[in-house]
């Protein structure tokens, strides 16, 4: 038998015929098609028991309630808590992306200590021992007041525990990060005599006149504002946006009033002048419940006629009078201040000018008006027993000067820290700095000065859950649990008109070797002993929280929030606690602060012919929490292209500089330089450069770091003559072809 080519051929034909009679071809075809649907990278919903935990979001001061969906022990989705008074089931993109802050790579996994410039892991025991040793040493040497703490908030049990720790230890240096609340609090105190939180019943207003407030860009409580906005839409309410740049809020408003930056206060006074002249104001309020009106009226009418105001602001006289009339004639008009997200205090006189508009139309404490929300009172801990070291320490002047003879009205002046630390008084005024839930090395204007100043502090202790810019500067990082792993109370959402507390509760077990900052403080106090230890009679933070919330605890555990829905602002006869028991348009104290004047941006006009202003968007966050990866992905390419940020300038300005859209330029301010790309637009006043806030991180994670430019690196504070707060709204700048 000879095997030749034909044999093979016939073998193959036989094989083919046989194969056709087996399942092989059909089965393989089926398997291959299924194989092509089973790529390992296709996301697959997790299996397991689905549970939902009610909690609250702490990622911004908005105070939303959340429903966290879990499959077994894994968080898979965060949704808005239905019926929560602030957000009623809705959520913003940052809130939605919260799980990435739990599982993402920016977490600090264990206490860290800096040794020779590098972090090494250390145990909690050693870390806390190191801090408490340093503290007792300091106190023994009479340096208790050289301990300071920077915190994003001064409300709620965690901030109060830190503040209490400082007080009983002997330091007056608890410092809250700046925000528009700073100036508003002073305005409420000076005009109404109350220590209160500014609240705005935007939901029920039908005519909102916003002086640069990014009502739809993250101002106040963002989701509450979004919901209010849809309500206006449905009910024919109006939104007027006064702002130098066509922001998203301006674009969605019924009218955008472009204005020279920093002159918003002048416009408010101009509008007030027209209202007064045409007797459009609320006579009942002004005549019976206010004092100093006549004096203030003269100032306004003489100094802020529509013609003068028009020249200053660039807003036409007719627009000014029109605005005044429609504002005063609306049923429930409301004026809001605080630029962008309200992350900067601004000038007191400007805030007062806006606040006076609300007073003129008599909306204080009224439906749809401006409210003075009482500070939460549920934190009622035992009196402190003050040892000698504590009393002496607390009598020292604060490091930031707040409350001193020069800065009588300010409570906190974080913007003054670098200056205070860098002017050498012959000794180191801060020996230990705590930083809790804040990222000042990124968020305070003039980050370089802050970093230089902080470098002089012998011991910096960060409680951050993330390796952010400030944590990187620290000598010790004592990581807090993230908000999805801990208990905490969230009182007083920014700008929300009712007294409300939401409860953050652990959704999952802590993923890493972190510790609740509340527990860390309690343990430090216990280690220090004596009256300090006695001031913290709880075994754990959880015990402290439950005890503090008392009878509200049940409803918080059940509903996720507690709200005083019966709350009504006091009537005008009881509302004001000033000397006159009336609303004060002017008083000795107010007059002492001088008249309204424009805040000049830093820098010499000859060198820096343009002005750089920041702007905010819901996709970029510039506070303690930097944008998680989902948000960075959503940033439009008109703001960020690859790693390059785009600045907006008016087409005419770009022309005069010979810069085309898409070209690269070097942006220089008195504080620093950066490479930027140019985007020309008609939606901005000429002569300005607008840069988004929230980019230019150097730390956190690779999804956030290295993208764009941090506005605060290029900017610096301008001290408000009246309060000492940072009143800057921009900085002089120059653009040159790269």
């Amino acid at each position: 038998m000879k095997i030749d080519r034909r044999s093979f051929l016939s073998f193959a034909i036989g094989g083919a015929a046989g194969t056709a009679l087996t399942p092989l071809p059909w089965k393989l075809t089926d398997d291959m098609s299924i194989w092509s649907q089973m790529w390992p990278w296709t996301p697959v919903p997790a299996r397991g028991a689905v549970t939902v935990v009610k909690s609250a979001c702490t990622l911004c001061p908005g105070g939303c309630g959340i429903n966290v969906r879990k499959v077994d022990d894994r968080v898979v989705k965060i949704e808005g808590l239905p019926d929560h008074p602030v957000n009623d089931g809705s959520l913003c993109t940052l809130g939605l992306a919260g799980a990435q802050l739990l599982y993402g790579p920016r977490r600090v996994k264990t206490p860290l200590k800096k040794v020779n410039g590098r972090f090494v892991a250390i145990s909690w025991e050693d870390a806390l021992a190191e801090v408490s040793e340093k503290l007792s040493d300091l106190r023994a040497k009479g340096g208790a007041h050289t301990v300071a703490c920077i915190s994003s908030s001064d409300r709620g049990t965690v901030a109060e525990l830190l503040a209490r720790f400082l007080r009983v230890f002997g330091s007056p240096n608890f410092i809250r990060m700046p925000s528009s609340q700073d100036a508003y609090e002073v305005a409420l105190y000076l005009t109404q005599g109350v220590r209160a939180i500014p609240g705005f019943d935007v939901e029920h207003s039908d005519f909102v006149l916003s002086f640069g407030s990014g009502l739809l860009d993250g101002w106040g409580s963002p989701v509450y504002l979004f919901k209010a906005h849809s309500q206006w839409r449905d009910q024919g309410g109006k939104l007027i946006q006064v702002e130098p740049r066509l922001s998203r809020t301006a674009a969605k408003a019924d009218q955008w009033v472009p204005i020279n930056p920093g002159t918003e206060g002048a416009l408010a006074l101009g509008i007030a002048g027209v209202i007064i002249k045409e007797s459009l104001y609320d006579e009942k309020f002004v005549n019976s419940h206010s004092s100093g009106f006549q004096e203030w009226k003269r100032l306004v009418i003489d100094g802020f006629s529509p013609e003068i105001v028009s020249k200053v602001t660039g807003v036409k006289v007719t627009v000014i009078t029109e605005l005044a009339r429609s504002f005063a004639r609306a049923n429930r008009p409301l004026a809001t201040g605080g630029r962008g997200k309200g992350t900067s205090p601004g000038s007191l006189k400007e805030v007062l000018a806006v606040h006076f508009l609300n007073a003129l139309v008599g909306n204080l404490g009224q439906k749809g008006g401006s409210w003075a929300v009482p500070e939460p009172e549920y934190i009622d801990w035992p009196e402190l027993e003050m040892e000698q070291a504590a009393s002496t320490g607390n009598q020292q002047t604060r490091i930031d000067g707040a409350g001193s003879d020069i800065y009588t009205h300010a409570r906190y002046l974080a913007n003054r820290l670098p200056e205070a630390l860098l002017t050498d008084p012959g000794y180191q005024p801060v020996q230990v700095l705590f930083i809790s839930e804040a990222n000042p090395a990124y968020s305070l204007p003039d980050t370089t000065a802050f970093k230089d100043a902080v470098a002089k502090i012998p011991m910096k202790v960060s409680f951050s859950s993330y390796l952010d810019e400030t944590a990187e500067l620290a000598d010790l990082v004592l990581p807090n649990h993230t908000y999805l792993e801990r208990y905490e109370d969230v009182p007083a959402p920014s700008g929300y008109p009712l007294p409300i507390i939401s409860l953050v509760r652990p959704v999952v077990e802590p993923k890493f070797n972190s510790m609740h900052t509340g527990d860390a403080v309690i343990q430090l106090a216990k280690a220090l002993g004596g009256s300090i230890s006695k001031a913290f009679p709880w075994d754990s933070y959880e015990e402290c929280l439950e005890e503090t919330l008392g009878d509200k605890w049940e409803s918080l555990m059940e509903q996720g929030y507690w709200v005083d829905s019966e709350y009504e602002a006091p009537g005008w006869s009881e509302a004001f606690e000033t000397a006159s028991e009336k609303f004060e348009f002017t008083s000795r104290e107010i007059s002492a602060l001088g008249n309204y004047s424009l805040v000049k941006p830093e820098g010499d006009e000859a060198f820096f012919p343009l002005v750089l202003i920041p702007f905010d968007t819901m996709r970029l966050w510039s506070g303690y929490v930097g944008s998680p990866p989902f948000l960075i992905k959503s940033v439009e390419d008109t703001l960020l292209q690859k790693n390059e940020v785009l600045v907006e300038i008016h087409a005419a300005t770009a022309d005069s500089l010979g810069l085309g859209s898409g070209s690269t330029a070097v942006l220089t301010t008195p504080k620093g330089k950066a490479r930027v790309k140019i985007r020309t637009t008609e939606g901005i006043m000429p002569g300005l450069i607008a840069l988004p806030r929230g980019l230019g991180h150097t730390a956190n994670d690779r999804f956030l770091a290295g993208k764009g430019v941090n506005y605060n690196r290029l900017a610096g504070p301008v001290e408000d003559g009246a309060t000492g707060h940072d009143a800057a709204w921009g900085i002089r700048a120059r653009l040159a072809k790269a």
Binding site: M1, K2, I3, R6, S7, F8, S10, F11, A12, I13, G14, G15, A16, A17, G18, T19, L21, T22, P23, L24, W26, K27, L28, D30, D31, M32, I34, W35, Q37, M38, T42, V44, P45, R47, A49, V50
Partner: protein, 232 residues
């Protein structure tokens, strides 16, 4: 140029000049027999490959991580399969039990079986979940709610899962090397022939029953018909 005749000779392989007539005839007979033989070889070999070798190659086989006797457990519980494979409060189905269901009885080693000791020391005492290999796991693109089938339609477990509840040991888990499915989805018969309703779990089997029983032809959630009844 060759003639037509020459060409045909060359094509048939007949070249009178080199091969004697008789030999040529014999070769022709032998050659056709060889051809047929090879055809048969090929035919039979491919049948063997297709029916016997291919299934062996296609599936990998491995034992379950822990031995388990359904029969023994079934006799001890009150609510049959649902005692361990239960519905959660929200109606979702718990599937293969987790340690939480085992731990009540198996916190300590019971009896003296080696498998029991292994289970308790390796898993229970170390709080490690057993990575059970699920025979009937549908691929991720399928949305299969047990509640609709068991609670609403009143089907019993045996209809799809057969008599596994009476088994005394767990058979090896076989996995398709290409599609990565469990073998139970296609069924153990490589030809896909099923005698019982639990022999196969392919899409056609679902569809056949859905049509026969005149099940909703649109998804309850999305209101979309066709594929979306079962697929995401």
């Amino acid at each position: 140029m060759s003639t037509v005749d020459e060409q045909s000779k060359a094509a048939s392989g007949m070249d009178e000049g080199h091969i004697p007539q008789g030999v040529e005839e014999k070769k022709q007979d032998g050659s056709s027999a060889t051809i047929i033989l090879f055809f048969v070889f090929g035919f039979i070999a491919s049948l063997i490959v297709g029916w016997v070798v291919f299934p062996k190659l296609l599936y990998s086989s491995r034992p379950q991580p822990v031995e388990f006797n359904h029969l023994v457990h079934n006799e001890m519980v009150d609510e049959g399969c649902e005692s361990c494979h239960f519905f959660r409060e929200d109606g979702s189905y718990s599937g293969v039990p987790t340690l939480a269901q085992c731990i009540d009885c198996h916190e300590e080693v019971q009896g003296d079986s080696e498998a029991e000791e292994y289970f308790v020391t390796e898993y229970v005492q170390r709080y490690r979940e057993v990575p059970w290999l699920v025979y009937s796991r549908q691929p991720p693109c399928v949305f299969f709610p047990h509640s609709a089938h068991v609670l609403k339609a009143g089907m019993d477990c045996v209809t799809c899962h057969g008599s596994i509840g009476e088994s005394e040991s767990l058979r090896p888990y076989e996995q398709n090397r290409i599609s990565r499915y469990s073998r139970d989805i296609w069924g153990h018969n490589i030809a896909g022939i099923s005698r019982n309703s639990w022999d196969r779990m392919k899409m056609d089997d679902c569809a056949e029953c859905h049509q026969r029983e005149n099940v909703n032809q649109a998804s309850v959630q999305t209101k979309r018909g066709g594929c979306f009844v079962c697929h995401h």
